[in-house]
């Protein structure tokens, strides 16, 4: 059996909206290995859900090829989907039925597998199974979604924005569930538009923009690319050239007593330079993923040809 769990090659998906055609995926190539936790990152509209819904055979690719657990999603059909757990990005849960009723129904759609796991998982996620679905908050609906994705112990979990709506405590519980699934041999493919959601758990991360992978790396390398935004306040005015040109430091801006810069790599050179002055306050923030995208528009960080694509980008 192949150790590649998800493979896409040149995946293209066009949507027709009225007379216009919109290209949601523009030649997406990806390989995900058995047993890894893979983060699929991109802003809304980058094509994440489109890619995921092709893997589930809800959408059919315009061109290119997708393979899940060794079969084409369409050929694989129900037998393939029996081995998957899926959490939709936009979970629509309505109706008078209780959460427990819906979950038992979803288990029946899987021949009863997973039904025995429902009470324990509900307990873990503090989900009240007796409450009607339509009265549930967004967070509680998300718990139902997470639960039904995990309950049957699937080989491959495909999770579209899994932590949206979950409070921090439950995000923690969710991450534990992902680690347990991984320890049990499962592969986890999760999308997000926030790097911090996946960096704790994913080993590798792909960044998708406009239907293409623009960066694919392990999390540490990506974090290095993203860098930190450092802000230092001084007791006296400082000259800008005291900091410019330091290793790993860029975008230095000095305004009177305040210096901001972008730090990639070790902070040591910056700290040594700053120590020559009287530092009154400091902060260092991991940058948001959105900043990383901006880098992808502006500078060829990964050495890719993104720069040529950028002028008409935005």
């Amino acid at each position: 059996m192949s150790d590649v769990v998800i493979r896409t090659a040149g995946l293209i998906k066009d949507y027709a909206t009225g007379s216009r055609r919109i290209r949601a995926l523009d030649g997406l190539d990806l390989e995900i290995q058995r047993g890894e936790v893979f983060g699929f990152l991109g802003p809304n509209g980058a094509g994440k859900s489109t890619m995921i819904r092709i893997l589930l055979d809800q959408l059919r690719p315009t061109d290119g090829h997708a393979e899940v657990l060794g079969s084409d999603p369409r050929e694989g059909g129900p037998a393939l989907r029996a081995r998957l757990g899926y959490l939709p990005g936009e979970l629509a849960l309505t109706g008078r039925a209780t959460a427990g009723d819906l979950l038992r129904h979803l288990s029946r759609l899987r021949g009863g597998t997973g039904a025995e796991a429902i009470p324990a998982l509900a307990e873990r996620l503090s989900l009240d199974l007796d409450r009607p679905i339509r009265g549930l908050s967004k967070g509680n609906k998300q718990k139902v979604g997470v639960l039904q994705a995990f309950m049957h112990g699937p080989e491959l979990l495909i999770l579209d924005e899994p932590t949206s709506g979950l409070d921090p405590l439950l995000q923690h519980e969710f991450l534990t569930m992902v680690r347990e699934a991984q320890a049990g041999g499962a592969t986890v493919f999760m999308s997000s538009h926030v790097l911090s959601e996946v960096e704790l758990i994913a080993e590798r991360v792909a960044i998708v923009r406009a239907g293409r992978i623009v960066d694919l790396d392990d999390v540490a390398a990506l974090r290095h690319h993203a860098g930190q935004r450092v802000e230092l306040h001084f007791a006296e005015a400082v000259p800008a050239d005291a900091f410019s040109g330091l290793e790993g430091i860029s975008n230095v801006e000095v305004a009177d007593h305040r210096m901001t810069c972008l730090l990639r790599g070790e902070p040591d050179p910056l700290l040594k330079a700053a120590a020559r002055y009287h530092v009154t306050r400091w902060s260092a923030e991991d940058r948001e993923l959105e900043d990383l995208f901006l880098d992808h528009y502006r500078t060829p960080l990964g050495g890719e040809s993104e720069q040529e694509a950028s002028p008409d980008g935005r």
Binding site: M1, Y15, R34, G35, R53, L56, Q58, L59, R60, G77, P78, A79, L80, R81, A82, R83, L84, Y86, P88, E90, L91, A92, L93, T94, G95, R96, A97, H105, L106, R108, L109, R110, G111, G112, T113, Q148, H152, G153, E155, G184, G185, A186
Partner: protein, 286 residues
């Protein structure tokens, strides 16, 4: 889990393949369960309205009020409404319960259900977890279509039970066989128009488009049938109307028109095939 797979014997692999696949009719059961209040409510409405209209017959018929009412109406209108035979029990039932009220109630129920049960649920996202589950699209569609047909048959059974119960009790001169046949015809007619709605929904994924198509066809069919009876040479127009396929032979007196039933069943089958083919091919939830 990976270890399980590598150690499976071929025999175990085949049982593994069955594991995780649904048995029975889970989607059908779920739809019926979710719609059970609506099904009961519509059953009650159809039953009560049918009962009221059947019960009106003796009072109106006896007093000759109907006939005097009809005499005051223009001939064209009378024949358009099918009231030219309203003085007889069969004519009365054909122009009230079977020709107007039950079809309208059943169509409102059935077209709404047909548009919602697949396209509507796809559109609002409720279908997404089902299509991601190990159930084929064709099976999902078929189970939902079955729920639709069961709903229509249920209303047909209610209508039939009310008329078959009341007609002898009120000593109306309508044959039991004709009543049963006409009830069957009503059910087949409603199923055909619901199938058109269902198929448009399956092909487009748009509830409103499906509903508008089904309702448009019903209204056009009704108008065509009414106009045809006014025209000297309206037979060709009548042949185009699903209403005429159902009622054209005056089934409470003469039994169902076989040609008409064949047309309704043919339309149903064509729609079901089209629904399966289009739903299986296209993108879902876009």
């Amino acid at each position: 889990m990976a270890a399980d797979v590598t150690t499976s014997t071929p025999a175990k692999t085949s049982s593994e393949a069955v594991r995780g696949l649904p048995r029975g009719l889970p989607a059908f059961r779920w739809v019926v369960r979710m719609r059970r209040r609506a099904l009961l409510g519509w059953g009650l409405a159809v039953g009560v309205v049918s009962a009221i209209y059947v019960s009106f017959y003796p009072t109106m018929g006896d007093a000759g009020e109907l006939e005097s009412l009809i005499e005051g109406m223009p001939d064209g209108l009378v024949s358009a409404l099918g009231y030219d035979t309203i003085g007889t029990a069969a004519g009365y039932l054909e122009s009230t319960v079977y020709g107007l009220l039950a079809p309208i109630l059943m169509l409102v129920f059935a077209l709404g259900f047909a548009a919602r049960v697949l396209a509507g649920e796809e559109e609002d996202g409720s279908l997404e977890l089902e299509t991601a589950a190990p159930i084929s699209r064709v099976r999902s569609l078929s189970e939902r279509y079955l729920a639709l047909v069961v709903g229509i048959v249920w209303l047909g059974v209610v209508t039939g039970a009310v008329t078959l119960g009341l007609v002898p009790a009120l000593a109306m001169e309508v044959g039991t066989a004709e009543l049963a046949a006409t009830t069957l015809g009503l059910t087949v007619f409603t199923t055909a128009l619901a199938s058109v709605t269902f198929a448009v929904g399956a092909a487009t994924g748009r509830r409103v488009v499906a509903l508008a198509t089904g309702a448009g066809l019903a209204v056009a069919g009704y108008i065509a049938n009414a106009l045809a009876s006014l025209m000297d040479d309206g037979a060709w127009l009548e042949r185009l109307s699903p209403f005429a396929w159902y009622l054209g032979n005056e089934p409470l007196r003469n039994g169902l028109s076989l040609g008409g039933m064949a047309a309704l069943l043919g339309l149903t089958i064509v729609c079901l095939v089209a629904a399966v083919v289009t739903f299986d091919r296209r993108d879902l939830g876009v």
